[in-house]
Symmetry: C2
Subunit: 603 residues, 2 copies
């Protein structure tokens, strides 16, 4: 029996079959590791760090080809080529875990202290003596000096429920009583991430500080347009009330489902924290987004706002607080503030860069002293949009890929291992990167001529294309290809992001080398192969260990705001500290952008 | 031609008929002076002060009997016995004017500075430059640093109405924008006095600081009981929602009438200030008054409260503020705080006593350093309740009376000069006082035997009674009498008030002589003959010029709160400064009360 200790996961596996590869052992043990080349040591996805190299076989030639010198020095191995001789201690980098296993960040540095702004406490009002001129509210204030006021509907509730000498369980929002709970019941809160595409609600037990359940749906506003601009236009034409009602109704349905599933009452939810981009923010608040629709794209409100749920028609306790995180500008929203809250980059002395890639890419560069942000119009290509075989990240989407050097044969993985239907964002980055690596693309983005049946011209428009999979093997019975204009779309997208990064760096007088942390936020950041993203020039070339995928950091920010009174207080300080650069207004924007279109050259 | 200058009314009359009495001259000139004895110099109601005595006839014997030495020294005369020889300057004491002419107090010392907490101002938001990260709310804050937030529904309104470069007229409640008004329209506010019996709304133009109109109705809650105890009981049994709805609906109707009459929109009313006793306060706020129903009669809330009108269903601008003045205790309400605001006694170094007589009498004694209050259960006798021929102050009620010494014939005035139907509060005080003066009553309250047909026994119960008017001369065709038990009721009522005054004085270590101002508040205080009130021992025996009738001072307080930001800020300070004494809990209460039942002896 040999033991494998995974030091960064608090996990141990015991095995007797020592002739298995480490990759097989881990997969059998339930730790699903990425791998797409069939354990040939080619795709380089199944990396682990072996802490005691003497307990395993020596590093192979294949591995030396695939790993960088630095990685080898640090003990990196490809687990498909590792055989164990003895008890082994390893560490598994987050990037080697299969997507669904990747852990979402909970603030960079540490776990947060659970200390929600919404609290409950037992209060017992003793019967006052005759002649005591204190009111019930005064008497409660005497018991706890922190309690200063009572929200109006709760004042009524208090007047009905008060009995001298009996405990009542009051729910506080800061210094205000906002509810009276049954003594034996817990109080709840929810964090909502309103994405342009997806809406996610995280339900928390605020007394235990524990996640209870998650509910996630497609944003029903999608029927009014896929992107924020079409939502804004629709809201201006038809009244923001229409788009607002659709999202509020959906959130109420989601809350009902969460409550039913967990057998709690809507009334026991006392707070909701909300993040979303600026358009989602305005529409959720039922504010006309017209000033977002034309230059200078000024939002109506940028500070955080607290409203009673009854004002917005959200079906939780009517005195419950709706806390909407602040926004930065018309194009850098509360979701970005959420990312900052989650990464804590606004508190650290080191320089950090946060990159949240979607249809718009939001970037923030800086540290505790100063931060600048911008928004890059990347377009939908990096999410699979506008590409001939691009698709959403769903079953059958090619999500990662490896190309054999000489044959140009492809090895790939699809989501849920479905028969391939198309290519999603992370797959596209892998394809372009691999095409560059094996010499199928030149740095200008041209598909190179090769005597290979996978490289051909579209007979209709004469455009070059590369065949990823032949029609016989696909779900759609068509050859899945990537075309020259697909490549162009990707160049425009990654060029937009890189231009944003470069301008932020220039404006801040910071060099790439000074970036200590690059936080990659959003589902996209979570699923891409970072090395490949660097290879195509979507991300700057900085050491991999400085790049941290922080998953849905926007949602994480909403959760932290719900659970930590202290961190919430920091939101509006961030909002004050952060500057915004409108890229289009920068005079070197066009030059930078053209420069960024080429793919970087690597040795 | 002779000129009469009324120095305290800015008025001059020119007359040629110099053989008329000054009383006739004044009445003919539209200044209606009290008088009930038919110009015989007997009732002593028509007093004026003659500033240049050399211009009139010498003081008569009758006047010397009726006026005190001090009054004579100050130049007081009975106008029915004054004849003019030359141009005359006089001053007419408030108490000599007929009720409908009496001027309601506007704060003791001076006019208030019109500076409402609700203000409007023009704001022009210039189109920001591209890259300016400020929001519209931030830009408004840059224009006026005082503006910090926008009430939620107004945020929506702002998002619809904002146009770069155009003036918008914002309405502010302190640092918050609560509305956007049409530029050419004024903004309005209202002060409401919710009495147990009467509800009065004063509508003000807040930009001009001017009273626009008044609306007054019977409190529709009267159907649930005449006094506060029955309202509380009803609210507890049937839900405060019932009594609340009745008053809110009525207020909305009144506001609609005021708006229609003055051609303004409900939406242009941005604030309402509210006073009322503690029961009215709780019911208006839709708060269960159950803790007011049993000892120690603790209110739910005593500090002032500000609510959005939409929370209470009051039909003014939905972002409009409802400001309810603070209360002191279960029996000393916001109406009393209103009296203090109006009299400013909480700011003055001199000792003042405020007396507000109704079914309950509320008393406040003190000065800027310290104030104590109490509530006396006077019962309804002083308002005509529980008396054989007692009635409300309406047409046909005997409101003032004079008894001829030897004949015991009565001279009286009824409201609107109707045929007599009964006796209202001020009439009752006159009757008892006159009976004492002419020897019909002894100090213990016994009706003395006299050979006079007006003094007789009720054949049914053998009770003594005094006939005020014979049935032939009355509307009701019955002899109007005052009975021995009526006298007893009045003794209990005035004894309750005087006990309260004595206990406040004792507790505060203050003597009657130290009282510099006695403020008599409420309709009652406005209509009674103060000298007679002193004679029966309802008020302490202090110089008449220290007693000031302040009319509806509670309503006045609500008006001042509406019009003066500075004075409003003082309300909760009063609330902090004022103590409350529960009379029933005082160990010398019973002794004091029994002592107070007798009528005082005067020489």
């Amino acid at each position: 029996m040999i033991k494998v200790t995974i030091s960064n996961m608090n996990k141990e596996l015991e095995i007797d079959k020592i002739n298995y590869s480490l990759l097989d052992i881990l997969n059998e043990g339930g730790i699903e590791i990425e791998s797409i080349c069939g354990s040939k040591g080619k795709c380089g996805k199944c990396k682990v760090i072996v802490k005691n190299p003497e307990s395993v076989n020596e590093i192979t030639l294949e591995e030396k080809k695939s790993l960088s010198e630095e990685e080898i020095k640090k003990g990196f191995r490809l687990s498909c080529l590792v055989n164990l001789n003895n008890n082994t201690i390893i560490e598994i980098p987050d990037s080697s875990l299969q997507k669904q296993l990747r852990i979402l960040c909970e603030g960079r540095s540490n776990k947060i202290l659970i200390d929600p702004i919404i609290k409950s406490e037992l209060i017992k009002v003793k019967k006052p003596l005759l002649g005591n001129e204190k009111s019930i509210v005064d008497l409660i204030n005497e018991i706890n000096k922190e309690i200063i006021s009572v929200d109006y509907p709760t004042l009524k509730e208090l007047s009905n429920k008060i009995e001298y000498g009996l405990d009542i369980k009051v729910v506080r929002y800061g210094n205000e009583i906002i509810g009276i709970s049954e003594i034996e019941k817990n109080i709840y809160g929810a964090a909502i991430d309103i994405g342009t595409t997806t809406v996610v609600i995280y339900l928390f037990d605020l007394e235990k500080g524990k996640l209870v359940d998650i509910e996630s749906v497609l944003n029903p506003q999608v029927r009014y347009g896929e992107d924020v601009v079409s939502r804004i236009t629709f809201s201006m034409k038809n009244g923001v009330e229409v788009t607002n009602k659709v999202i509020v109704d959906e959130i109420n349905l989601m809350i009902n489902r969460l409550c039913n599933r967990n057998n709690i009452s809507n009334k026991s939810i006392y707070e909701i924290t909300v993040v979303g981009n600026t358009a989602m923010h305005h529409i959720f608040l039922n504010i006309n987004p017209k000033t977002l629709s034309f230059s200078p794209f000024t939002p109506i409100l940028s500070k955080s706002i607290n409203l009673k749920s009854r004002e917005l028609g959200i079906n939780i306790n009517p005195s419950g607080n709706i806390h909407v995180l602040p926004i930065v500008s018309g194009f850098v929203g509360a979701d970005t503030i959420g990312v900052l809250i989650a990464t804590e980059m606004y508190k650290n002395p080191e320089i950090s860069l946060a990159v949240d890639i979607g249809t718009n890419g939001e970037l923030v560069l800086g540290n505790k002293d100063k931060m600048v942000s911008c928004s890059c119009a990347a377009g939908p290509a990096l999410e699979g949009g506008h590409l001939k075989f691009g698709m959403r990240a769903s079953t059958g989407a090619i999500e990662s890929l490896y190309i054999e050097e000489d044959t140009f044969n492809t090895f790939y993985k699809t989501i849920n291992n479905g028969k391939p239907k198309g290519i999603c964002g992370s797959g596209i980055i892998d394809i372009v990167s691999e095409m560059l690596r094996v010499g199928l693309l030149d740095p200008s983005g041209k598909i190179r001529a090769h005597h290979n049946e996978r490289i051909r011209k579209d007979p209709l428009n004469g455009q070059k294309e590369f065949v990823i999979e032949w029609g016989d093997n696909t779900e759609i019975k068509k050859d899945i290809v990537i075309t020259a204009s697909d490549i162009r779309e990707i160049q425009l997208a990654k060029g937009a992001i890189m231009t944003g990064i470069n301008i932020l760096l220039e404006k801040s007088n910071i060099t790439i080398a000074q970036i200590e942390n690059l936080y990659l936020a959003g589902a996209f950041g979570n699923f891409i192969d970072i090395k490949n993203a660097i290879r195509i020039g979507l991300l700057p070339n900085i050491p991999l260990d400085k790049i941290i995928s922080v998953g849905n950091a926007a949602g994480e920010g909403a959760k932290i705001s719900l659970l930590s009174r202290e961190r919430r207080m920091e939101e509006d300080l961030i909002n004050k500290k952060i500057g915004y650069i409108e890229l289009a207004a920068e005079k070197n924007f066009n030059g930078e952008f053209v420069m960024s279109l080429n793919f970087p050259k690597f040795d």
